[in-house]
């Protein structure tokens, strides 16, 4: 277990509601996701000292904010490296000067050494004399990162770092950031509304909604086991459904779920008593087509039958909605086009899908 280099606890009702408790270890990249207006940027600004939030912020042994004792270290004294959404490079200074202003007072030789080190680290050597408007979006981002790293920050805060560049550059910059992150030893907070971005880069993801931190977990766990339907929807999980726990079978390590006239099998989950209503999810990518009883192979699956109600092609795959048992219930999934062609799946036809028992996750019904 690494040290908790950054720990944040914010709690306020107004003017912007915030209810956040998070930690980030040295070298860890914590993704903060949420729709716009969820308070992501406010959270970053509170840590940096740009927003006067109520609560505590501690970073590498220093207390930056403690509202109960009236302590708030000014932004200049908090060693943060902040990457702004539009990079906020100083337009009248060259790339080199942009980075140099953020260097702590050091000797000229030291300054030179550190600047060339940063430019090499971020692969922007040779661009020192350019002004921001002479740089591409990707280059601007790297200069801004160099400036953020120049003061040897105790925490790196990235505010939507890829929103200002085009799709191709974004992919490239994300790979570079992932590589750079491995060379950094400070905690890194990445704020984004792009779930793929967070999934690809983050060690853990924190889901923020209306200023409230709903769940923090590693990406795979988060997407497989969201804590409630709200989180599941925020994560873009299409199959968020309502059912009823039918029975538990501890002996065979199974729980049965009633849904749309089916009895679905899943791994034993005794958090919910038999008869209680639950929300449940299954990730679209875990649905198997065609539905096949795989009990012969030892895997536990549930086969569900329905009518293909929607069928849209997106590039090499198709997005499909299956209406189950003539009811209002639908399952969403996507399949490769060649599978759709092979199995004759298109709008209006009858089809079956398999729901692996271990892919079904139950959640408490929200108040």
């Amino acid at each position: 277990m690494r040290d908790e280099a950054l720990s944040v606890r914010l709690s306020q009702k107004a003017p912007i509601p915030l209810e956040v408790e998070l930690t980030c270890a040295a070298g860890e990249l914590l993704g903060v996701v949420g729709p716009s207006g969820s308070g992501k940027t406010t959270l970053l600004r509170s840590i940096a000292g740009l927003y006067p939030a109520h609560g505590t912020v501690r970073c590498s042994g220093e207390t930056w904010l403690d509202s109960s004792s009236g302590l708030s270290v000014p932004v200049q004294k908090r060693r943060v490296g902040m990457l702004f959404q539009d990079y906020a490079l100083f337009p009248h200074l060259t790339a080199r000067e942009n980075v140099a202003v953020a260097l702590p007072p050091v000797s000229a030789a030291d300054c030179e050494r550190r600047i060339s080190g940063l430019f090499a680290l971020l692969h922007i050597d040779g661009l020192e004399g350019r002004y921001p408007h002479q740089l591409s979006g990707g280059q601007q981002q790297r200069v801004a990162l160099a400036r953020a790293l120049a003061r040897d920050p105790r925490v790196l805060l990235l505010d939507e770092p890829f929103s200002a560049v085009d799709q191709q550059t974004r992919r490239k910059l994300m790979r570079e950031l992932a590589k750079l992150h491995r060379q950094l030893s400070m905690p890194v907070l990445l704020v984004t509304h792009d779930l793929d971005e967070a999934r690809m880069l983050a060690d853990r993801i924190a889901v923020l909604h209306h200023g409230r931190l709903l769940q923090t977990a590693p990406p795979d766990e988060l997407f497989a086991r969201p804590c409630n339907a709200t989180v599941a929807r925020l994560l873009g999980i299409d199959n968020v459904l309502r059912g009823r726990v039918a029975a538990h079978e501890p002996a065979s390590n199974r729980t049965w779920l009633e849904w749309a006239g089916y009895r679905l099998e899943l791994g034993l989950d005794t958090r919910f008593g038999a008869g209680s209503e639950v929300d449940w999810v299954i990730p679209a990518e875990r649905l198997l087509v065609p539905g096949r009883d795989a009990s012969a192979s030892g895997a536990h699956v549930n086969v569900v039958r329905g009518i293909i109600e929607e069928y849209f092609q997106f590039g090499h795959s198709a997005s499909v909605a299956l209406r189950v048992n003539d009811g209002g219930e639908r399952l969403y999934f996507s399949i490769p086009l060649h599978v759709a062609g092979r199995d004759g799946i298109t709008a209006g036809v009858e089809a079956t899908v398999s729901l692996p028992a271990d892919a079904i996750h139950l959640m408490p019904v929200e108040a």
């Binding site: 940096a48 740009l50 932004v75 200049q76 943060v80 490296g81 902040m82 702004f84 959404q85 539009d86 906020a88 490079l89 100083f90 337009p91 009248h92 202003v101 953020a102 702590p104 921001p132 408007h133 400036r147 953020a148 120049a150 003061r151």
Partner: protein, 223 residues
């Protein structure tokens, strides 16, 4: 051509600008970024000289600067001199009637600086003072230059206030615009025409310079 009057006008403009630009910087910066009660009233008060008839402003200044006014008496007590019918009085009046010309361009200059740039400076560890010198002032610079040129040009051209507060004392308060009026009164149209042409030339050069600045700033922002 009354060169002494032109020289006096230039001195007056420079003296007004020398005091008004630093003071205006502080006012403009506060108006650009601070929200405080009565901000609209302060802005309205600062803009008042733009729309008041110069004679009205001149009348109030004459009363205030005279022996019956508080500023006049204070000045008398401190420097044992008079604010009316004196160069010092004209400088003081110029500060007032140039307020909007100095403050407004600088305020727009500061307002054009994105908040994120200042925050980026703070997050880079720059103090408020260093942020001002390294980021705010260089970026607001076209506004500062515009304020300087406008103050200078407007002082050269001001007539009503100067006549009310300063009269027309040769070498002390007779500015170029007063001199032109005097020449016309004396039916010396030749001299008046000559001085008018000089003033038009200076004013046009000043305004052209401003537009040049503006266009250059526009190009720098077009990225």
């Amino acid at each position: 051509m009354d060169w002494e009057a032109l020289q006096l006008s230039l001195y007056l403009g420079l003296a007004a600008a020398a005091i008004l630009i630093p003071a205006g910087l502080l006012i403009a910066r506060a108006l650009a970024w601070r929200r405080f009660p009565g901000r609209s009233l302060v802005q309205a008060l600062l803009a008042l000289p733009l729309i008041l008839p110069p004679t009205v402003l001149g009348y109030y200044l004459l009363v205030a600067f005279g022996p019956g006014g508080i500023p006049g008496r204070a000045y008398e007590a401190l420097f044992s001199g008079s604010l009316i019918f004196s160069f010092e009085g004209l400088v003081a009046a110029s500060l007032i009637f140039n307020l909007p010309f100095a403050v407004q361009p600088m305020q727009r200059g500061f307002e054009s600086i994105p908040q994120a740039l200042r925050e980026a400076a703070w997050c880079s560890g720059l103090s408020t003072w260093r942020t001002f010198w390294l980021v705010e002032l260089p970026l607001a610079w076209p506004g500062v230059l515009a304020a300087f040129v406008l103050t200078l040009a407007h002082t050269l051209g001001e007539f009503g206030v100067v006549l009310m507060v300063g009269g027309s004392i040769e070498g002390e308060t007779r500015t170029i615009s007063i001199a032109i009026y005097d020449r016309v009164q004396a039916l010396d149209y030749g001299a008046a025409a000559y001085m008018c042409a000089v003033l038009v030339g200076i004013s046009f050069a000043a305004i052209a310079f401003l537009y040049m600045l503006d266009n250059r700033a526009g190009r720098a922002h077009a990225r």
